[in-house]
């Protein structure tokens, strides 16, 4: 038997075609899953496989597209019977490969759905383990329209076997997956995971695939696969047919082969005829040997960022060093604050976000994973995982949706041995610091030597130079006046040696006054000498000025359009005076968030912070609340006012001594297990916060145990539960039951469209709150 990995690189290979559509024409009843026939009609299944073998296919996929342990208790039996059906069709031939087919689970992964990444990995792993013992030759992961589910399947396949892994995804007409990934992002992810071949399947037909194949050919360094549909179904003379005939199909496939796709086959609607004609038309077309594209790329779940001619900005704000508010947010698990920093940086124009949550008093691994998951739910920028702890790196790189940038490895053997195996397993591009057990060399040449040693070691782990970015380190000129020159020379020499480079630019001025002046000048010089990536503060207008000006000056900004756009958007801070009309109360009542900061600054000149709360914020909220109940204003305005009040509280907190901030008025909020509706809960949260309550928001789909854990860890005595579906109200009852047995002194209030006073009583809730204001009233009275 040939080695498939060798065959993939050197031969033209042919997958089989549509399966479900073919067996439906053989009598499979609508609504009956195709995999049922593995047990009830194995001869018919084998007959289909044989038809494709006779047509010339040499990779036959098992009839297991819809099989997994989530859907079937007898998944192992279904898998082994599927493999046996293929073996029966192959007979004594030794030139046919059996591909174990893994399709989507049918469930969406979090945050858009309810399936956890690790649960998805477990599901796929069981499949692969079951197939591996049956004697398949490879794994084909197909038709997934989500990068994250694809990653889960590949990780599972790698952990459960050594079989070659082929991946084809279902791209839409715009050339993207449903969750947004384009071809470059998927190639970055999948090549990082070391899959053996990549491509497209299903979708809307080979004509659509032809439109997007160039992206694959230009960016992919492994063999390409195309398994398109035969178009879309239609009804002709009472029969369902697909609109692309075998001859038309073969014509498109010829074009795909000429473009460089070596592995061809079909999907929905294709038949043995489609495959036969394709093979006749393409078998004499020479293959295109895959070539190394040598691109330094990182990716998120939607797009890739290539480190090349354009300077890349890495936002540095999610790092607790020197940031007391961020430290506080990490200690109190205030993810909203952290996510807001991420979103603000993304809106400022950075290309990648650095994520560093290293604080001794917290569980860094847990926090890093939470922050990465939550950040990837609100921004599609690639992330830089910034940690010196290999355990943190392992856990976070595993769950990262895309190909991460990793900060960092250094020249010490221990560091390289800890980091490189993880990069090899999960993919990634690594920032390599030019330091080793002897410290940071004092010359540029020695730093380059360390970079070269790191690259040699990486090569031994199978990691190419393109996946390293060297950081020659900025030491502050306040302690060594030659350090800027050494760093700049290092960047130059590294670029000449073919390395990509990165710097934490602001380190150069540590300990000096007016740091921005040094930082901006150094940044401009580093860019001019060839720096590829800068870890920097995107909220510094001066630094962003340098970035845009540099690009305009160096021909990296066509017609200076970005510079012009940037310049017209950067305006003087609004200096409008706070008039008598624009008071803090008015700003809260009218929901004018942008005026809050200015109003507070004015008031603080004459009024103590606690008096501002008592005499301005609370009365404004009361007026808004009364008008809401009198139906003089409506929920959107109530929320806008509440946001303003919360924003005002946040600013005032910084001016109030810690001893005056009371955290004993707290509430835990959660949408119960199985339910992801949270509008009502979020309204309650905003109002409670605006009234000064500390809210522990556990989010959506929260298990009873998680609620209990929060009660225990915070000591909070008031819990609010929300459910919007009749199917999830039992989860509410379960949660209350658990709390009553393990935390008897906790009170539970409930709300949600499907609830009422009566039902709340039957599930032993302490109160039913019909709207957010009632919840605030209950909480206020509870804490009196």
């Amino acid at each position: 038997m040939k080695d498939l990995r060798t065959a993939l690189k050197n031969e033209r290979l042919y997958f089989d075609g549509g399966f479900g559509t073919v067996i439906q024409s053989m009598g499979l009843q609508k609504g009956t899953p195709p995999e049922d026939w593995n047990l009830t009609n194995p001869q018919k299944i084998s007959a289909v496989h044989k038809a494709y073998i006779d047509a010339g296919s040499n990779i036959i996929t098992t009839n297991t597209f819809g099989v997994n342990c989530d859907k079937y208790d007898n998944y192992e039996e279904l898998i082994s019977s599927a493999v046996n059906c293929v073996k029966a069709a192959i007979g004594s031939r030794s030139d046919i490969f059996i591909a174990f087919d893994i399709g989507p689970t049918g469930r969406m992964l979090k945050p858009l759905g309810d399936l956890d990444f690790e649960d998805a990995v477990k599901i796929f792993k069981k499949n692969v383990s079951a197939a591996a013992v049956c004697g398949v030759d490879c794994i084909i992961i197909e038709t997934m329209s989500d990068a994250y589910e694809t990653k889960a399947a590949v990780v599972a396949a790698k952990e459960a076997s050594d079989l070659p892994i082929l991946v084809t995804n279902a791209y839409d007409k715009t050339g993207k997956l449903m969750t947004g990934a384009d071809a470059k992002a998927m190639i970055a992810l999948l090549e990082g995971l070391s899959v053996d071949a990549i491509g497209m399947n299903c979708s809307f037909g080979p004509d659509i695939m032809l439109k997007h194949i160039d992206d694959f050919c230009e960016n992919c360094s492994v063999p390409l696969i195309a398994n398109p549909n035969a178009g879309l179904p239609k009804v002709e003379n009472g029969k369902t047919v697909y609109d692309i005939t075998p001859d038309q199909f073969a014509d498109y496939m010829t074009q795909l082969a000429n473009k460089g796709v070596n592995i061809l086959g079909g999907c929905c609607g294709t038949t043995p005829d489609h495959i036969r004609k394709t093979i006749e038309a393409t078998k004499n077309i020479p293959i295109t040997k895959p070539t190394e594209k040598n691109k330094t790329v990182v990716s998120s779940y939607t797009h890739s960022v290539e480190i090349c001619n354009q300077p890349i900005l890495i936002g540095e704000r999610i790092n607790p060093t020197g940031k007391s508010k961020l430290k506080e947010a990490l200690r109190t698990n205030n993810l909203s604050y952290i996510l807001n920093e991420g979103i603000r940086q993304a809106d400022s124009g950075v290309h990648i976000l650095d994520v560093n949550v290293g604080l001794p008093e917290i569980n860094e691994a847990q926090m890093m994973c939470s922050v990465i998951k939550e950040l990837q739910a609100v921004t599609d920028l690639p992330l830089q995982i910034d940690t010196s702890d290999p355990e943190v790196l392992e856990k976070s790189i595993r769950i990262y949706n895309g190909k991460a940038l990793i900060n960092s490895v250094n020249g010490e053997v221990q560091s390289m041995n800890a980091v490189f195996p993880l990069v090899k397993k999960y993919g990634g591009t690594v920032i390599a610091l030019t330091m080793d057990k002897n410290g940071i060399p004092s010359t540029a040449e020695e730093r380059v030597k360390i970079a070269e040693r790191i690259a040699e070691c990486a090569k031994e782990y199978g990691i190419q130079k393109k996946d390293l970015i060297i950081d020659p380190l900025c030491l502050t000129i306040s302690s060594d006046s030659s350090s800027a020159l050494i760093t700049l020379k290092s960047v130059k020499l590294l670029s000449e040696a073919g390395f990509k480079t990165s710097l934490g630019v602001s380190n150069i001025s540590f300990g000096l006054p007016a740091r921005e002046k040094i930082n901006t000048t150094f940044f401009a010089e580093a860019l001019a000498i060839g720096l590829n990536c800068a870890i920097m503060n995107p909220f510094s207008t001066a630094m962003m000025d340098v970035y845009y000006a540099y690009r305009a000056l160096h021909g990296l900004d066509d017609a200076c359009l970005d510079y012009i756009n940037y310049s017209s958007n950067v305006s003087e801070p609004i200096k409008a005076a706070v008039t008598e009309e624009t008071t803090l109360s008015k700003a809260i009542i009218k929901g004018l968030k942008e005026d809050i900061s200015r109003c507070i600054s004015e008031l603080l000149k004459t009024t103590k912070p606690l008096d501002i709360i008592d005499n301005h914020i609370i009365p404004a909220l009361s007026e808004v609340g009364n008008d809401f109940e009198a139906k003089k204003l409506y929920l959107p305005q109530l929320l806008m006012s509440a946001e303003c009040a919360s924003s005002a509280f946040e600013i005032l907190k910084m001016h109030i001594g810690k001893q005056n901030i009371s955290n004993d008025k707290s509430v835990i909020l959660a949408t119960v297990k199985g339910d992801i509706h949270d509008i009502g809960k979020n309204i309650v949260k905003v109002l409670l916060e605006s009234y000064g309550f500390l809210v522990y928001d556990l989010g959506r789909d929260v298990s009873p145990e998680a609620v209990l854990d929060c009660v225990k860890s915070t000591g909070c005595k008031l819990v609010g539960l929300s459910a919007l579906m009749t199917t999830t109200v039992p989860s509410m009852a379960e949660t209350i039951k658990l709390l009553q047995s393990k935390a008897k002194d906790v009170k539970v209030i409930v709300g949600g469209a499907v609830l009422n006073e009566e039902y709340a009583k039957t599930i032993s809730a302490d109160a039913y709150c019909k709207d957010a204001m009632e919840a605030v009233k209950f909480a206020t009275e509870f804490y009196l």
């Binding site: 609508k30 979103i343 959107p636």
Partner: protein
């Protein structure tokens, strides 16, 4: 069995939400118009991607027992709606998961915008269902459309409805364990043909 198939992407400019639907969702009279509502609507329109898929299929009715081509189930209310119908349109629509991503972001940055955008998005999904309803039936007289969750039509048949219109492959609609669709602003419907 399917007698016809439908699939399409609709230009977002053609989807016009019903004002009453919007005011109901936002809990305010339609003459109230905050600047913020308009801003939220603009951001929403930037991310919606309206699509639909559907079939025309023969159906069987036997009292409360209904077969739409994927197995028999019971619903007194749907059976009443489908009285004397021998065929039905079944369709699914979605405005896409760009909306869910926007809502995820707004959940963090602004609860007010999140509330408003969520309400608007639901109104847009309904408007898309109205548009597709008219487009699919043309001049064919039909019963009012009926969705899972109406009356006693059980949520449990949602996966089969989606399967029958190939929603997973054409619209990328999946269903969670608690039978919620993703993208969340998706609607399925059954329309009996008179």
């Amino acid at each position: 069995m399917p007698l016809d198939y439908f699939y399409g992407e609709i230009q977002k400019e053609l989807i016009l939400p019903n004002i009453n639907e919007v005011s109901e969702r936002l809990n305010m009279p339609f003459e109230q118009n905050y600047n913020l509502t308009s801003q939220c609507e603009q951001k929403l329109k930037n991310v919606i991607a309206p699509k639909y898929s559907g079939i025309r299929t023969d159906i069987t009715l036997d009292g409360d027992k209904i077969d739409l081509g994927f197995g028999v189930f019971t619903s007194k209310d749907l059976a009443k709606n489908l009285t004397q119908c021998k065929e039905a349109f079944i369709f699914a629509v979605t405005i896409g998961n760009g909306v869910d991503r926007l809502l995820n972001k707004l959940r963090i940055t602004s609860p007010a915008e999140h509330f408003i955008t969520d309400g608007l998005a639901s109104a847009y999904a309904e408007a898309l269902a109205d548009f597709v309803d008219k487009k699919i039936k043309g001049n064919t007289p039909c019963r009012p459309r009926f969705s899972v969750g109406y009356g006693d039509l059980p949520l449990e048949i949602q996966p089969q409805i989606l399967e029958s219109v190939n929603a997973a492959r054409l619209l990328n609609i999946t269903v969670s364990k608690s039978l919620l669709m993703s993208p969340s602003k998706s609607i399925t419907a059954i329309m009996g043909i008179l």
